[in-house]
């Protein structure tokens, strides 16, 4: 089986996954124990039959379930996502998602990057000096770091940044790049300019560190194991015998090969990032789609919850596909096993 057919097969398998996921979401929301129409109405309106009927009609709940299901699925497929009912009442869901998504992506991008930039080198360092005090410190730190609840870490980090003024004399807001507040949404409109880019980055930086914390611990652990394994390979001994300098040995032979098992891990961390974005965005007050999902869920805008779930499913399936693509590039054996 060539790589192309492997990727094509993965793509074909992704279609039923998206279908099953959205169908489950539809079932939970529209066939579940809650009537989404009453949820949309305020206390007084529930007793008003006309308002109730109007809400039902808007949601298409007065049509037979199968018809409703087909229409719902067609709408999702064509990205005809309609309007919101409660949250930002009456605005187009498409516009809302386009407005909120960039902030979540920006946050996700930095959390992946920070996790990689800190976790991988630390893991490699621990692996190169295995069984020393530095290794134990780094490994133990990684394990504890991984066990910390994100939302708690977020609160503690905010408290720390808030009291920076008293500790070192410079507040976090004024430190290097001035920003208006410690937490809040990054300004995505001026991202093209240098100042805007730096300010937006600094704004999401604490949130990104928290969101990436779990991945950081994982990447460290796997990086350490990978280096330990590669160090014992025959080709490293061979290179050493050939007289390759220590520096070249580490950089060219050990680290490059140790990177291979790390790449799929990095992409699979995206699951955690997307799930964790709800809590982190809530604590840091970032208006991303995780925050939008949470608001919609607690205010009872269930149709919006379903639509956002569809977006999340698409994102995760997309990341999976990218991971499969990367696999075939990094490790050419993947498509050939016939798995």
């Amino acid at each position: 089986m060539s790589r192309l057919t492997y990727v094509a097969k993965r793509f074909l398998l992704a279609i039923p996954v998206v279908w099953l996921g959205t169908t489950m979401t539809w079932f939970i929301i529209f066939m579940g124990p809650i009537d989404p129409a009453t949820r949309l109405l305020s206390q007084g309106q529930t007793r008003n039959p006309a308002a109730y009927r109007a809400a039902q009609e808007q949601l298409g709940l007065n049509t037979p379930p199968l018809e409703h299901y087909l229409e719902y699925m067609t709408n999702l497929l064509t990205f005809d996502l309609g309007q919101t009912f409660l949250l930002y009442q009456g605005s187009s869901v498409n516009a809302l998602i386009l407005d909120f998504l960039p902030r979540t992506l920006w946050l996700g991008f930095w959390s992946v990057l920070i996790a990689v930039l800190i976790g991988v080198p630390l893991g490699f360092y621990a692996g190169m000096r295995s069984n020393t005090v530095a290794d134990y410190l780094a490994s133990f730190g990684g394990i504890v770091w991984r066990a910390m609840p994100n939302f708690w870490l977020a609160i503690m980090l905010l408290a720390l940044l808030g009291s920076l003024q008293g500790m070192i004399g410079v507040s976090w807001q004024q430190f290097l790049v001035p920003i208006d507040a410690i937490s809040g949404s990054p300004d995505m409109s001026r991202i093209g300019t240098v100042d805007g880019f730096l300010a937006a980055t600094k704004k999401v930086l604490p949130a990104a560190i928290v969101l990436g914390s779990a991945s950081m611990g994982n990447e460290m652990r796997i990086g350490r194991t990978a280096v330990l394994e590669v160090r014992n390979e025959d080709f490293v001994d061979m290179a050493k015998a050939k007289g390759v300098s220590d520096r070249a040995l580490v950089w060219k032979h050990v680290l490059r090969n140790a990177l291979v098992p790390l790449v799929p891990i990095i992409t699979s961390e995206a699951f955690l990032l997307i799930g964790g974005s709800v809590l982190v965005e809530t604590v840091f007050g970032i208006n991303g789609i995780g925050w939008l999902f949470y608001r919609a869920a607690i205010q009872g805008d269930l149709p919006l919850v379903g639509t956002l779930m569809y977006v999340f499913i698409l994102m995760i399936v997309g990341i999976n596909l990218i991971q499969d693509l990367l696999y075939t590039v990094i490790d050419p054996r993947v498509g050939l096993e016939g798995a």
Partner: protein
Amino acid sequence: MAGATSDRERASTVRPTGSTALVWAGAGVALFALEAGALATFLTGMVADLFAFVPPLGPAQPAVATLAEWANAAQSAAREVPTLLSRETIPNGGYWNGRRWVGTFLGLEPALAWAVRVALVYGYAFACAGWAILGYRLYRREIRPTDWSPRDDVVDRFRSHTWGKFGLLVVFMFVVMAVFAPALGPTTVEQNMRESYSHEFSYWNSDAGEVQTTLVGQANLQSQSTGTSSRVMPFTYDDYNRYHPFGTLPTGRDLFTFIATGSRISLIIGVLSVGLSALLAASLALVAAYYRGRVDLGMVLLSDAVMAMPQLLLLIMLTQVLAETWIGGIYSGAFVLALIFAGTGWTYMWRSVRGPALQVAQRQWVDAARSFGQKPRVIMRRHMLPYITGYLLIYGSMTLGGAIIAIAGLSFLGLGVSPPTPEWGRAINLGQDYVTTGSWHISLIPGLLITIVVTGFNALGDGVRDAIDPQSDSAGGAAAGRGGGA
């Protein structure tokens, strides 16, 4: 290696007589007698709760009512049985009458009385654990007919795994905290939180110079931790001579009692959900491995679809949808949370167990059993399941830590376990606004405890993994231990 250890142990036997087993059993009875009353209260209480929960059934109604009365009578009778480790035997709630402490254990100050009780509870728990370990050694050395079994190697490997033993210790202490929650707290949930305005207590009013009585609820209002000027810090007394090992909440309630009781609900949801998802994952993995082909593909698609919905978001959505149904009311919503958790979390465990199950399904004994005419169900249960239970243990331990984080995350958001019932995540949420003020303890302590407990569960999982399968490295279990990114 096994031979060497058993020889060593043989040399260290106290008395090589047949009465060792009797001594051991006697110690067991003595340990049980100390807590018999508490156990009886717990069991009868559970029966009484069960009857109280039975819906009115028409004709059977009078019979059920009689049974419920009996259960209640049995519960109050069980309460009369003396127990060593109870707040009645070692009370810490007393008052200063100007010269000495009144009503506390041996007239000690409340902090010391409470510390004595906690030390006794943990001493008792470790004695029980030691008793169980001794029993296992006794069984292995003297009662069991064989000298060695493959499981001995697993146990011995775990015994030499320091990190795993550390995890076991942490998990054990957490479980003890959950089991003995009512005895550990300096006060009770009933008295301090739920019905604080129907409980009175005496205290020393230093201004008036006399002992006065007040309502718990009134006193709580005066012991709130809401900033730098008004706060009750860990290991201090409030103005009413009440001792607070972890300080107070912004509502003036005792944080230690809140956390001890909260550990119970975390543990119950965790164990229930992990047990259910292990059951689901094991049966689906066995079916997929046995039948392969389309069945396997279908399950891969199903689990992929469930995994494509981020677990935390699915939890939020389902707790919202199921909140107002009858099932959502059981045990403050903890039961439905465990169900949802199992329904969304089995995929990760299934993924990890499927590989080993596929390998076992190709072994010759499975073929042999099949040609022998055994039913598929029997083959799966008897010839395949024993080989994957070890993996279930590993991932179960790691998922439990993740479950605790995710449940805390949900209650932090105000979802999941409904408010009057204590839950660790809610304590973090309550203290969120005071972290930068003097009342930093409210958020800090529960968070640290979660970190320690989750580290413990992960360490235990690591230890069990190395004991069962020394060659493996379960990097894949990493995602399972994180509770969907909470």
